[in-house]
Symmetry: C2
Subunit: 302 residues, 2 copies
């Protein structure tokens, strides 16, 4: 019952996210692709070549199936069947001064009676703008704080650990929040988490709308575009090597095109690329670290 309720709300939220993003972009439209499988189905909404948004995926899915040995291993739970409803979204803009953003909320339930919420939102700028990173974290913190005192601090630290590339010793961007296995113990808990995840999903296109509005008309050079494509390479590395949603989706027979719509349109890799010391690119790279308190951060002391 609860999963149905979550699925219905998330499905509506998917639509409102898309409408808000279309208004903010002013030109691009989301194309809807419905898919059905034995395990369930979903609606993959994709915008390509908008005025500002180069590629965005806003996916809703509601899948149910046998709980396989692979899932048992990946999740450390025992059950016969599972159901999961979720929204997953990533937006890449053409202008290197408009960051890449990601948001995901989901409700996972097992026939054993165990169920949990998971999700997160995180920002990956090509060029880190301290005021913008602060504003982004403040916006997320405000939502978290209205539900509980420790949520932001706990989930912010979790995001630092999760959105991390060990082989580069770099965070993916300025982080945000990440949470998983938040198991509601009462109906009130369930309602609270459903409301919290809905608030995040509602805030997501509004936050991105402001980031688009503030940055999309900034001029940029071919070198700045090159740096953006190199940073997108890191995004691809994270998603294909580490991201649990991507790997779980591909391994469990999810819809490949829906899962990989997260990948940017144009990407570059260069061997041993190091930005010049002191350059804006260098400064951004210096800030790709865990543990920065973005709400109060005023820059690295050199």
């Amino acid at each position: 019952m609860k999963t149905e309720q979550v699925a219905e709300l998330y499905s509506q939220l998917q639509q409102s996210i898309c409408r808000t993003l279309e208004i903010a972009d002013g030109k691009g439209k989301f194309i809807e692709n419905e898919w059905h499988r034995e395990i369930g189905g979903g609606l993959t909404n994709v915008m390509q070549h908008g005025a500002i948004i180069e590629k965005a995926g806003v996916n809703f899915s509601y899948v149910r199936g046998k709980f396989t040995p692979t899932m048992e291993r990946l999740l450390g739970e025992k059950a016969d069947a599972y159901a999961v409803a979720g929204i997953s979204s990533i937006i890449h803009a053409a202008n290197p001064f408009v960051p890449t953003i990601h948001m995901n909320v989901r409700y996972f339930s097992l026939d054993s009676g165990v169920a949990w919420f998971g999700g997160g939102i995180d920002l990956t700028p090509t060029y880190i703008n301290l005021a913008e990173a602060r504003w982004f974290h403040e916006s997320i913190k405000e939502i978290c704080d209205s539900y509980g005192d420790s949520f932001y601090a706990d989930w912010k630290a979790w995001a630092d650990d999760y959105f991390y590339l060990p082989h580069r010793q770099e965070t993916r961007g300025v982080g945000g929040i990440f949470f998983d296995r938040v198991k509601p113990e009462t109906d009130d808990d369930f309602e609270m988490m459903l409301s919290l995840t809905a608030d995040l999903a509602n805030a997501y296109p509004v936050i991105y709308g402001k980031l688009m509005h503030d940055n999309a008309s900034k001029e940029f050079t071919p070198e700045q575009k090159h740096w953006q494509k190199l940073r997108r390479g890191r995004y691809v590395e994270f998603n294909l090597i580490y991201d649990r949603g991507t790997r779980f989706g591909l391994e469990s027979g999810g819809n490949t095109e829906s899962i990989l719509v997260s990948l940017p349109a144009e990407v570059e890799w260069a061997y041993n690329y190091h930005p010049a010391k002191g350059s804006p690119e260098f400064q951004t790279q210096e800030l790709l670290k865990k543990g920065i308190d973005w709400v109060n951060f005023e820059g690295l002391k050199h």
Copy 2:
């Protein structure tokens, strides 16, 4: 002792591969980057922006270390220490009619006394040319046949299974050969496999020289370049999600830049891209299947 002998030969072969490729390219030069770690070291040779070769890595490494629980799990062997010497190379050309190629040979030995050879060579064209695919397989088969009757057939089938993207239900290209855990039981076996892997390494730049020579001056359109970048996206997916060498290297603390030099310079992803039925791109996609006997293949019957 044996590992030292292999390392010395492979190190020489790395140099001769680079010299042959430089001559074939006519402009590009390999830059050498030596690296040292607690676990050993290597020499990463990289060419970028040659006349024909857009990006090539020819890596030699010789590493030794503690056999960790992760390796135990990944390799299914028990030991305290390991040593591995190998060459690993991938070449991406700018012209979409020059295929991408990969070659790898390695000798892995454990202090338990167990040791094996592994390696392979495979071709990934943007546009499959049947005569060229046949010639490539014939060239590899000739080397294999001079050592044993079943090598080519066995290792060709293994390549079909290994260079495969389950989430796309596509092979990476027209395959080639792949082998692993070939454990020499006698000194003669060891010498034979060392010689076979050296023959493959020697043939590699000669084969690629011909593919460059035959195709690099062909004219191409922006649409053909676009298709090449999309196919490179599949190459990235394979390397980051499935390739054992890449994952083992990143997990065991190898040199990140040396490992990921395999990634192409410019890559694209498009949602739900399907080439028009009957187009050359469509025909290539139709041929990305396991089990094609390339040496005798005359095209799909429609």
